[in-house]
Point group: C2
Chain length 525, copies 2
Amino acid sequence: MATDQAQSEQRGETYNQFEERITRISNVGNAAGILRWDQEVVMPEEGTPARAQQLSALSSISHELLTADETGDLLESLESAELGDEQQAAVREVRRQYDRETSVPQELVEEISETSANAHPTWKQAKEEDDFEQFAPTLEKLVELKREYAEHIDPDADPYAVLFADYEPYLDLETAERVLERLREELVPLIDAIQESDVDLATNTFAGVSEPRSDGSEDGTSSVEFDDDDQEALARDVLDALGYDWGRGRLDTAPHPFSSGTQFDARVTTRFEEDDLLGSLTSTIHEFGHANYTLGLPDEAYGTPLGDSRDLTVHESQSRLWENHVGRSQPFWEQFLPTVADRFPELEDATPEEAYEAANQVYDDNLIRVEADELTYHLHIVIRFEIERDLISGDLDVEDVPEVWNDKYEEYLGVRPETDAEGCLQDIHWSHGSFGYFPTYSLGSVLAAQLYAAAEDDLGDLDDRIEAGEFDDLNGWLREQIHQHGCRYTTPDLIEEATGEEFTADYFLEYVKSKYGELYDLDDY
Amino acid sequence: MATDQAQSEQRGETYNQFEERITRISNVGNAAGILRWDQEVVMPEEGTPARAQQLSALSSISHELLTADETGDLLESLESAELGDEQQAAVREVRRQYDRETSVPQELVEEISETSANAHPTWKQAKEEDDFEQFAPTLEKLVELKREYAEHIDPDADPYAVLFADYEPYLDLETAERVLERLREELVPLIDAIQESDVDLATNTFAGVSEPRSDGSEDGTSSVEFDDDDQEALARDVLDALGYDWGRGRLDTAPHPFSSGTQFDARVTTRFEEDDLLGSLTSTIHEFGHANYTLGLPDEAYGTPLGDSRDLTVHESQSRLWENHVGRSQPFWEQFLPTVADRFPELEDATPEEAYEAANQVYDDNLIRVEADELTYHLHIVIRFEIERDLISGDLDVEDVPEVWNDKYEEYLGVRPETDAEGCLQDIHWSHGSFGYFPTYSLGSVLAAQLYAAAEDDLGDLDDRIEAGEFDDLNGWLREQIHQHGCRYTTPDLIEEATGEEFTADYFLEYVKSKYGELYDLDDY
């Protein structure tokens, strides 16, 4: 007995040291998060040189704390101890991070960091000048460095799978591939059918009191400029309506909207464009989804993996659930359109049905991912996924990227970019050396549908609640099933705990077929 | 020769290691500065628990980096090497900080930090309830802890002198005492003379279109509410006029105005009160002075003592110079009043002379330091200085503070507080454990006058330049004489380099006697 107790005390002491260490690392990371928010939102433009140094110092400190021998010793000691489930989960998460960070030489980390810092302006200029050749050598270099990086982490694994695991550690690449392939197979014909449909959605609703074009058509004209201040007031309205916790959050503008923070302080940013009221509104709702997840993490576990969010698939499932399943639903527009019309009297004659249609139009000529609708979006992702996977494996040469890109756009979406600026140079991700990130956008949407279906199953009548502006039950379900667990479960286990099923694209495909079959009056859907 | 060169390379290598180390420490400190700015200006109210942890982590990391054996070894090695003047100065500054921080046991640092964190709410409540008894035990504890702290740093020195050196390391306490004593001796009769003067200044100018009181008097009535947005626009006007570099700065509001940052990003905060246009304006100018100093530090020395500001006396000299010698001068009002009247048409009939008088009225019944005029302010400081010095030496018991405070107010200012809330509980400093901070406010004002006189001597016609709205030459002089040197010189050396004289109260006393003698038509001044 005495020995047992001594062991247990020793174990407790070791775990406390471990927790203190990882909480410090986490606090340094969260401090860096505030510095990045500040940089994007409020920093004076000439503050960059000092800010870059501050962020680099915090990043080095964090890396040194994580990869120190003390961390390794604590992990070993705890792995041979008897721990509770939660403590085991925390050890599992830190072990994974520790193994990855200690396996990559610091010089390589710095080379990647430096190369991608320099890649950014090169990419930007290449895009501005529509000149892929300018960016190609840098892209080549980043591909090589990231292959080398993956080799250090696991020389026996598919390097793209290793890179993918930086963004989604627990859903393996086979699962991602299977899901993306299925999306391609089933969405391409659905989009074809929509493009052949005779139905005209009320896509002009958010253009306000539009005047007909000279040719008599009304599509696409925007005769109203939506004032920034009114748009901001409306963004606050929608955050109010969804139940955003202002005591722990705030709304600001940023050129590229994002959300960041902790359970005590999770902030949303958005942007306003005078001709795109709907875009700002859906972007605000999307970022609310991310911030709302962060706010649902348990306070008492702050600083440990149990108080930190699961990876990108789960995070994106939260943003997409609110953006699409709530924000692009008909009951939402029944509920929220009057608020919009209060801020923008030019919309007072619009009907909820029209707003719903406008929010769900499927474009037939869009080349740009971030402007894509809920359906074609995933083909934009599939194209990037296929290309980056083949780049990393060596099956595709960098010089061939533009042509392959354009061919795939033609094949999957029926449009062919005329420039690389509108083609393979459009996204920033590869200039960051981020290969394997794109798939998580689609995986998140797929998971959103699965979670929404499970919530509907458990709660029933979600449509009625949304129409009544009651979001507490849905949010409570997400808190209980997802948010409160932090990183306690791996992603597949979390999904199974929440939905009773493995990760599946069934619900997403059901959802889009039913929704768009109805919207576009499609016989076979 | 070969040996010399090898030694020189070795020395260079050691200095590089030293610089890398202190730059990292500095970056961590500057990151903490951003977190504190965020906390005061934009953080959601419930963000405190996480923010406190983040700040504490950064503070521990910074302390550990500074006090590590590696720092001590580098210092020793550099102190026995032949270094240039600038490198020697950087080593001197870090050595001083290293010696202080390594001499105080970490447990005592944490006890002080914890005690003052808990002291803050206790002080606040005691102030709200006007009950010194509630705060007395905490104050007692803080006095004891700070005595112990001073004892660790230098057991042979006067403990108050050791504490004072935390805020002003190079002007010794004897100098501070001599200056403060002289202020008391010369300002008390000057203020007496003003109070006996028959002159009525146009103190009502900034009350706008005031209506007479029922008794026919006009004093002190404020019939206009100054709109916050207009006040903000005016604050931006004044920062524009003074030449604030918006590319490296911003203006926000905070409950207690401050400025913070680095040469790349030095921000100003202010506050607006609907009945105090002048107060917000002078506070904005004051904070401009601080930020403008920071912005003048050399970019290339960022992260080292050569790119960091000198201590509180010099910093305060910069804020007071702009606030008082510029912002409360008649030529400034000649220049700036039309801008004020543009924003506030109710002031369009006011004359520059009236505005100047209103900005320089001497109150005869004010009990509150932060509301004091340029003259009585220093007696508020002298009182605090005398009390805290005697508390630390043990010549004064905590329980006797309220009575001694009130007696001194009666003696020096002719007013006696009726409550402790308006008396010895009014300031936050002691609840932070900050003993020795107050004197630097007065020393800064004294230095401001000395610097302004030297600038006038070198440049001539400062009045004309101010009246013409030309501040570049004055600012250029400050950049060259003060800002660009960072911590290269100690405070006394910096003053001597800039003015050709030792630190002296002569110029301040000349300035106030001449200014107020004229304003109040005093025979003997």
